[in-house]
């Protein structure tokens, strides 16, 4: 609509100083275009530089060998990414298992059960959780969560669920479980915020139709809200997963930093971001730096794909199927 006006102006002021062809507009458009394109340039720079730093590794190692080898020994120049991949996957999985049910419950409470005013107020503590810097979570994890897991939770889990391989071994505190628990707290706000956004897009008509048929509030949630926003909630979970995979400081401080693979969640491990954070500054050889950048590249590719998928899902729900209101 806005474009129609300048076309008229242009007809009257051809060659003058008012139409879209005037100098001011051309400069303004050029500057804006350049600034917009810079986002793509930054994206290109990220990929290019990661690949450049990682290149020395590709000369020494095969990619498959790098991913599947379990030995990480910078002194002997042997680099295997598997313990870090495993640690990242396990801690993220733990965080998703813990955070998703809570996040969906919170989302439903904010959008469906709480009075609208209370719902708005309740988003504030969720935003606060997101505003706390990750190094502060790490500090809290190290001095509060880890001792608590070591003295209370892990012995209890071992006593009653020790027959599950996940809960065996000595209760150390530092390890996969501690990391997963702290990650769960950290990704909760992301999942809640996006879930609330998509749950809000459920058409009133759908909910009211369920209520008019005699459904209780909970039944209307299960019949109207959840089915409508399911794909968007999945997108929210993927966004949370992306955050969990890449979270560095909190995990570095509580995972134990041991490059090993253990079935037990009580055992210390290592994660992709943690090893980059710990070794990059001290890495001397270009192959060592290359191996760390290679881990970074894996991390980049994974989070890129996850975020892209999440965005597609969330946008699809927000746009809506169109046939309901139309």
């Amino acid at each position: 609509m806005a474009d129609a006006a300048p076309a008229v102006l242009d007809a009257h002021a051809e060659g003058g100083h008012r139409g879209p062809g005037n100098l001011g507009d051309r400069v303004f458009n050029g500057v804006l275009w350049t600034l917009g394109i810079m986002v793509l340039v930054v994206a290109g720079l990220i990929v290019l530089n990661l690949a450049l730093v990682a290149r020395p590794l590709a000369k020494e190692h095969s990619i498959w060998g790098f991913i599947t080898s379990t030995e990480w020994n910078p002194i002997e120049e042997h680099y295997g990414a598997l313990p870090f991949l495993y640690g990242t996957l396990v801690t993220s999985a733990v965080s998703i298992v813990l955070a998703v049910p809570i996040a969906i419950g919170l989302g439903l409470f904010i959008t469906q059960f709480a009075p609208p005013k209370l719902g708005r107020v309740l988003t504030i503590p969720v935003e606060l959780l997101a505003a706390i810097p990750s190094v502060v979570y790490g500090l809290w994890g190290l001095f509060v969560v880890v001792p608590w897991l070591r003295s209370a939770i892990e012995p209890w889990l071992g006593k009653y669920f020790g027959w599950v391989p996940l809960f065996t071994g000595p209760p150390i505190g530092l390890g996969y479980l501690a990391s997963g628990l702290i990650l769960a707290v950290m990704i909760l706000p992301t999942i809640v915020a996006v879930s609330v956004e998509v749950m809000k897009t459920t058409p009133e008509a759908n909910r009211e139709a369920a209520l008019a048929l005699g459904a209780t509030k909970w039944e209307s949630v299960m019949m109207a809200v959840i089915p409508y926003s399911r794909a968007g909630i999945l997108g929210a979970v993927l966004l949370g997963l992306g955050r969990a995979l890449g979270e560095t400081m909190a995990v570095t401080m509580v995972i134990g930093n041991a490059p090993q693979i253990s079935a037990s969640l009580f055992a210390p491990g290592y994660s992709l971001p943690a090893v980059i954070a710990n070794e990059f500054a001290e890495a001397v050889s270009s192959v060592h730096i290359g191996a760390l950048a290679g881990l970074g590249l894996i991390l980049f590719a994974t989070t890129f794909i996850l975020n892209a998928a999440a965005r597609v899902l969330v946008t699809a729900v927000q746009k809506g199927p169109g046939r309901i209101s139309g």
């Binding site: 609509m1 006006a5 102006l9 008012r18 001011g24 507009d25 400069v27 804006l32 600034l35 917009g36 810079m38 986002v39 793509l40 930054v42 994206a43 990220i46 530089n49 990661l50 730093v53 809570i102 419950g105 919170l106 439903l108 409470f109 503590p125 969720v126 606060l128 959780l129 505003a131 706390i132 810097p133 990750s134 190094v135 502060v136 979570y137 790490g138 500090l139 190290l142 001095f143 509060v144 707290v185 509030k217 909970w218 039944e219 966004l239 560095t248 400081m249 401080m253 971001p273 954070a277 990059f280 500054a281 760390l292 970074g296 991390l299 980049f300 989070t303 890129f304 975020n307 965005r311």
Partner: protein, 285 residues
């Protein structure tokens, strides 16, 4: 059983039960927040003193000492990030809102969304390759560049949303008066969205001030005062990390106190942005 499931009482109980469960989940989510805030305040307040803000860190075993150089370092790197990142982020956002409806616009928007989820540690590697490697040593500049790259995508998306909120009638009124497009954009549309954009910038600064991972191997650390952007620099967050993983009780206390300072800074920026949002909403009415 079928009878039981369809009985009104049973369904009513499920309904109430689930509402209570959802409310209880809220309490579960509250516990970590309260725990973090409570411990940072109680454990951190003990170490607060004037010296903590103005002195250099002392070696282990010596009483006193502060994080003055880390505060300056964080300030300097956030300032560098603002100089580089704010114009690019806001500019890209304005482009998306004003001209971003075509294929290029959609590509940029999608990229900005996806990039905002890239882990900050990965951006650290990029800043290392861009700045540290060519210069040959760690520097505040490299840290600032990393923070700037982190700012751009989030800021671009936030700015776009805020500029798009400006009513089309305002733009049309201006165009109808014969004001050229660029002047309409700058003086009417962007000015109307300005307080919102400032809010987004404050939040971006708050986020940058709390980043640790991309600074560890770009800015590294420094035991002394440093006012040279080409030299390694201490930062509040890296200092907290170093104090926290050390084996000394005295340093742990310092980590809590430094965390309190960091939370105060981040909190003030968040409150400021909230106040601005509120006054903007009032003005619109």
């Amino acid at each position: 059983m079928m009878n039981l499931h369809s009985s009104f009482l049973y369904r009513k109980m499920v309904d109430r039960g689930m509402a209570v469960v959802c409310a209880l989940l809220f309490l579960v989510a509250f516990i970590p927040l309260l725990s973090v805030l409570w411990l940072v305040i109680t454990k951190g307040a003990a170490g607060l003193s004037w010296d903590f803000f103005t002195q250099l860190p002392k070696p282990v075993g010596e009483e006193g000492g502060g994080i003055g150089n880390a505060l300056i370092g964080t300030l300097a790197m956030v300032a560098i990030a603002c100089v580089l990142g704010l114009p690019l982020g806001v500019g890209a956002g304005v482009y998306l809102a004003e001209k971003g409806d075509g294929t290029i616009g959609n590509t940029i928007r999608f990229m900005a969304e996806v990039l905002s989820g890239v882990p900050s540690i990965v951006i650290g590697i990029v800043a290392y390759a861009l700045v540290v490697k060519p210069m040959g040593h760690f520097s505040a500049l490299a840290g600032g560049v990393a923070l700037a790259i982190l700012m751009i995508p989030t800021l671009a998306r936030a700015t776009e949303e805020l500029v798009r909120l400006v009513p089309g009638s305002l733009r049309e009124a201006s165009l109808a008066l014969g004001v050229p497009n660029w002047k309409t954009s700058m003086r009417v549309v962007i000015r109307t969205a300005m307080s919102g954009i400032v809010t987004a910038c404050l939040l971006a600064v708050a986020r940058a001030a709390g980043e640790t991972a991309p600074l560890i191997f770009t800015a590294l650390n420094n035991q002394y005062w440093n006012f040279d952007p080409r030299a390694p620099t201490a930062s509040l967050t890296v200092q907290i990390y170093n104090y926290a993983i050390s084996p000394y009780d005295d340093w742990h206390t310092k980590a809590w106190t430094a965390s309190l300072v960091l939370l105060l800074v981040v909190g003030m920026l968040n409150v400021a942005s909230r106040v601005m949002t509120r006054s903007r909403l009032k003005g619109a009415r």
